[in-house]
Symmetry: C2
Subunit: 585 residues, 2 copies
């Protein structure tokens, strides 16, 4: 194998073009095998192998600095920068993160996982270089999809004013996670169709020098192009055309599905296994509801911000919605303002979003939405403690959303509550409503939920006991049930069980009532404690004799920590909670 | 007066061109007089009078919908839509908000005050119209400066894909609040210089139909242009050139100073009064520090996001910094990522920002900055409860910033602490540091602060007493001193006084120590309680016998409520706090 000879980018520079091409194939094989084994970003990595090799061939990392947007396409970069053991040896498959990580290598500048940040970061690196009087190349690699995020525009607008070296490689594979959305993409198409020659050029309007490569999967062409702009002293965009999933037919034929894959999507022969949509999940019942509602009410509209896969909104599903679906691009800020206006003007919008990505839109939630009290319904998916990468944690949505005035944030605990809240949220006209979709398997209560959610902040008293009351929020209601059982078994305490359902307010009447016969209230929330739900309960009781124990995640960025370890760390286990209770009673 | 005949937009349609021009002058006179009396946005309103008249002449508001970006330029719109009494009668000068406000008029669609949102909102309005099968024009008016915000790009990128009517009037006065910053502005200049004919056209790259008016202060030209695009069924940009401050020489000559003015900037003869920079304020000592530091350390750099006036960073001051100052445009997201990279690469960036605008950048604070532990220093200005407009509240920065892992958020209480924290923040290399600049007059402690702030979360025990401990955060330390005095006088309690200084963590040792001789802890913070500092103290003590009283703002959007009324509402007065204490002890 050629790869045996490559332990650092320096080793590349001794290879001939043929060897580089062989190397690309070796790397492709490793990535296909590894990602098909443990899951991960598939198409984006296969599409950028040749370009990454050319980058390391032409430039001198880590003296020259590479910044990968989202950095989900950094696998080849990792293989070439001393981390190939994470790809060649299955025992090491989990050794390195799927994103750039400075603690792994001096070739990684930043921990990155959210989109559209690379140009801003690169501009800062370039400016620091200039302030320090140093000389090197700063190279950002950003996908065409990521250009739809506002931060990318802000970065480009500022980068182009640098009177010095910065190189932005725009990796145009004519795909976001799904199809690209937005007027900009017609301009990219025009540039592709004219071999970069069209006068009308987005990057030139922002002031960049511009060049074009029609085949970014051709190492020779890429080397030539990069050499021609290396050491430029002008902000420069190199627009390259690559093929997402290059070299793997199923991935090329199914670009959206192969953006990120679960393990074993390919069979032994390298063919794609059939993917069946999930049944009896929160995703499946959400889709059913949406199709039903869209048919019944032509003012209903589903808004997406380029992550349809998270919710299993596949092509067929989207096609059924027609004009009742808008994908706005990777543009959560716009999504909120746009949806707020839709709601205000009498349409019935629904905006589903992943907890980690709602972070991109605090000001719009506050100003565009809640200040205007627009009756938008939002669904927050994947909220909760997990073993995720530190860049995709979903534990901060409660502090982010719930401390904004006028917002109604709901936490259902079962199928019927969820559907009732969803229907109420979509049809009511009074409040911005967000629903935290449970991140636990779908569970039916067996009876319809008849709650009127327009009566805000009314907690549900599930079973009345004494001494100890357990408030189990959303996904952690199941844990609350277990704690109740453990308290009964260990100490004979018949505790009170409460399903609060509302995150954004406290049920003062019920909480005051507890004071008569209870000494301790336990709160359980599947998210960070700081700024969260439990602290509101602590504040409520802080001047009373009731004691409170708050359970949730610590304020930190855990990185791929096994969930059981996190539960132990945060004492989110019935036996640990019983220990704490014992000390207090 | 022509204006006497104009009580609604309909009345405009009966006027001839000469009358419209007279009307413009009448309105100009009213705006100059009112704004010079009570303060407000001056230049932006004078520049857009003729265009606003033409808009109401050509379109039929409220059937046709107008959305004003930031809406700081809406005074003429208000005068023409039934609210002229707020401009003609000095007794009514405070009757209407300085921004669009749906509760005032059906001609105002949204409560708006932050930048770059109009295109997104307009797109939502247009899409709702299409879903409902209605027909009308949707018109957004956005300034050239606001185009630098990422949300504006996201909105344009999506708006251009609407297969129906939307009109974006780009009001190009070649100014942001200060000078425009960013590569885009060279393209706008090219378009101005070529009368809109240049092939290279930012708006066309995004897919818009485009037309150009060289003089947006000419009612006749504006009427003609608007008539030609009225009822278009294609997304259309109308790029108009206006003069900021039009018709008022001092405002035209000093565009930045006259963007927003305090009362009485003009004397009886309409000449500009001399503005003296403040002395002995947090602004003045910040500027002194910056100039000193920039001279001493060429790696130091000041970052701005287009609001230099907030910090009194005037032209002369900016010029002194040269390449050690970057204004990134109205682009807080980029500002954080850019600054994070600068800090990570060994430069020493300082980013001052207004509390209300830090809201535009939660995800960048979390991902680009804190996850990377970049040692950026930030200054958060104007944080605190105020009688501000509901769109510019500064009470949410503590929940927003302080619940992010790795962040160190500091609250100085006097000049010496502030300068020490500032110097430490700028020079240290371990943490993202934010400092909440006190919103009270500068006060000297008289002695140098020798604290080592690298020892995190160490509260300062200012005076040791018993029974009651008062924790007064930042700007509210003065209130804490008053409460201490009142407790002594009313109940003879010698209470303990604590200056926490750190917002982002609790001093467990000190707080535990209090348990021995105290029964009650009072927290005072100049911001919203929900998700804030006090709740952390409540959580800390929630399982102990210590009682806690948290004081701060309620979770709401107060709109121009007198501050004394808010202090009473929130019980932020020594006598009210004493009442609460009495009930507990």
């Amino acid at each position: 194998m050629i790869l045996d000879k490559v332990n650092s980018p320096d080793d590349l520079k001794n290879l001939g073009l043929n060897e580089l091409n062989v190397l690309a194939n070796e790397i492709r094989e490793l990535i296909v095998k590894k990602v098909n084994t443990i899951g991960g970003h598939f198409g984006p990595n296969l599409g950028i192998i040749e370009t990454t090799i050319a980058m390391h061939y032409v430039f001198n990392s880590p003296i020259d600095k590479f910044i990968f947007d989202v950095s989900h396409q950094c696998y080849t970069h990792k293989i070439l920068t001393g981390r190939k053991d994470g790809y060649t040896n299955p025992d090491n498959y989990l050794k390195y993160s799927g994103f750039t990580a400075p603690q792994e290598s001096e070739h990684d500048l930043f921990t990155i996982g959210h989109t559209s940040t690379s140009v801003s970061l690169a501009t800062g690196v370039a400016k620091a270089r200039d302030l320090k009087g140093e000389k090197y190349n700063v190279v950002a690699l950003i996908g065409d999809g990521s250009l739809s995020g506002g931060e990318a525009f802000e970065g480009l607008d500022n980068a182009s004013t640098l009177d010095s070296n910065i190189i932005i490689i725009v990796n145009d594979n004519d795909m976001s996670i799904a199809e690209n959305q937005g007027g900009l993409y017609n301009n990219l198409k025009l540039l592709r169709d004219t071999n970069g020659q069209a006068e009308l050029n987005y990057f030139k309007t922002l002031g960049f020098n511009y060049s074009f490569v029609d085949d970014g999967n051709n190492i020779e062409k890429m080397i030539r192009a990069l050499k021609s702009i290396k050491d430029t002293n002008k902000p420069t965009v190199l627009h390259i055309v690559t093929e997402k999933g290059h070299g793997c037919k199923p991935a090329v034929d199914n670009k959206e599905i192969f953006h990120w894959i679960a393990p074993n999507i390919l069979d032994e022969n390298g063919n794609m296994r059939e993917i069946k949509p999930s049944v009896n999940t929160y995703n499946s019942i959400t889709k059913e509801y949406i199709l039903h509602k869209a048919k019944e009410d032509k003012k209903f509209i589903l808004i997406g911000a380029s992550t349809p896969g998270v919710f299993e909104f596949d092509k067929e599903f989207r096609a059924k919605l027609g004009k009742q679906y808008t994908d706005v691009g990777i543009a959560e800020e716009h999504a909120i303002a746009y949806s707020s206006a839709l709601a205000k003007q009498g349409a019935r919008p629904l905006f589903p979003v992943m907890s980690s990505f709602i972070q991109r839109t605090y000001d719009q939630l506050s100003q565009d939405l809640c200040l205007n009290k627009s009756p938008l319904a939002m669904l927050v998916f994947w909220g909760g403690i997990s073993s995720a990468d530190c860049t995709h944690l979903c534990i901060f949505d409660i502090p982010l959303i719930s401390n904004i005035p006028n917002m109604v944030y709901l936490a259902p605990t079962n199928k019927e509550e969820y559907l009732k809240m969803l229907d109420w949220g979509v049809n009511q006209t009074e409040h911005p409503v967000a629903i935290r979709v449970p991140s636990v398997p779908l569970k039916s209560a067996g009876v319809e939920d008849t709650t009127d959610y327009s009566i805000l902040n009314k907690f549900k008293l599930v079973s009345e006991g004494e001494k100890v009351a357990i408030i189990g929020l959303g996904s952690f209601f199941g844990l609350a049930e277990k704690v109740k059982k453990a308290l009964q078994e260990k100490f004979g305490i018949n505790s009170t069980l409460i399903n609060p359902r509302f995150i954004t307010g406290v049920d003062e009447e019920l909480l005051n009532d507890l004071k008569r016969t209870h000494k301790l209230v336990i709160t359980l929330e599947d998210g960070v404690l700081d700024g969260g739900f439990g602290e509101k309960i602590s504040r409520f009781y802080s001047s009373s004799d009731i004691k409170v124990l708050n359970y949730g995640a610590k304020k930190e960025f855990p990185d791929r920590v096994p969930i059981d370890e996190l539960y132990t760390r945060y004492r989110l286990k019935p036996e640990l909670i019983c220990e704490d209770v014992q000390k207090l009673l």
